[in-house]
Amino acid sequence: MYDKGKIILGLILFFVVFTFPFWYNHGAATQTPEPELTKKAKQAENCVEDTSYMRTEHMQILDDWRDITVRDGKRLYVNKSGKEYMASLSNTCMDCHSNKADFCDKCHNYASVDPYCWDCHKYPEENE
């Protein structure tokens, strides 16, 4: 085998550089963010659906809301237990979750999701 030394050295170098992100960041994992609830959200106890469902499906609910309110004109959402809510991001969601930075952005930044809701929809100014 010709140039054995060079090849092996090259392979080692390649391996080190290739795996750099893994060992460089080892143990430096940041904690999973917990969305913070406002007082109003805590008092309400229940969101429009139960927490675990909201956690995994809120994007689906919001997507349905926007389609059904705009296209079908049906603006009232009746949840599984029969309670009614106006299907509105700015006026229903943000009424309780008025802390966009600590509630929405925290996880979205962590998961590198960039929803464009706020290009048009207004969120409450944060006073706290």
Binding site: I68, G73, K74, L76, V78, N79, K80, C120
Partner: protein, 263 residues
Amino acid sequence: MDNSRRSFLKIAGVSALGLGGVSGLSAMIPGPVIAEQGTSAPLYKDTQKALTAGRWGMVVDTRKLSRSLCEKMVAACHKAHNVPDHDHERHTIKWIWTDGFEHIFPGKDDEYLPERLNNLPILSLCNQCNNPPCVQACPTKATFQREDGIVMMDFHRCIGCRFCMAACPYGSRSFNFRDPRPAIDEENPDFPTRMKGVVEKCNFCAERLAEGKMPACVEVSEGALVFGDLEDPKSEIRKVLRENYAIRRKQSLGTNPSVYYII
């Protein structure tokens, strides 16, 4: 390899049978059943206060229009819908505006037109056509017609191709060449703004009708605008149309507008 053609075909035949058998079997086994989420799935309803109609329409009584009244109606609409006020004329966004008689009714202009009509600003807005050319032109169905006749924009879907603007014979649509937000004096939190790159127009205040309110312009019109259900013979708008001769804009195009003008 010393496989003959004969042995190759044998193996191929057997494996084909085997594969076929497996897929045949799997077709007989029922697939996973999608779990039902409880018995009462969420559903969507109209709000209780919502005003409904077979086909919404409007009558503009030009006899009651004045410059100051028109300005008031335009301001009310543009404030309610976060319509930006750009300083550059070419970037203008308008949902409702005024223009001269000769522009609103081209072809009906005349040398001996009553003096009143020569200087009168005439209110103009989306005609909410019953045969809307913009809806046909839209490639993404961002512009659509509701069951109650309102031609509406779904800003979420608009890709800003502006085919609808080319298709509209009334110039009722505006394009956001710039981010509208800096040009809005006071944002109304109850209605979203738009973003750069979408088309917008009058929506007959669909969001106010859902709350049981009359359109913003009608509310401040001091009787110059009559709004109601064109399909209901007992409605006020039908009464007004029965008692007065009203015309519509560019009727010969066949767009069948829902906005009438009493001259």
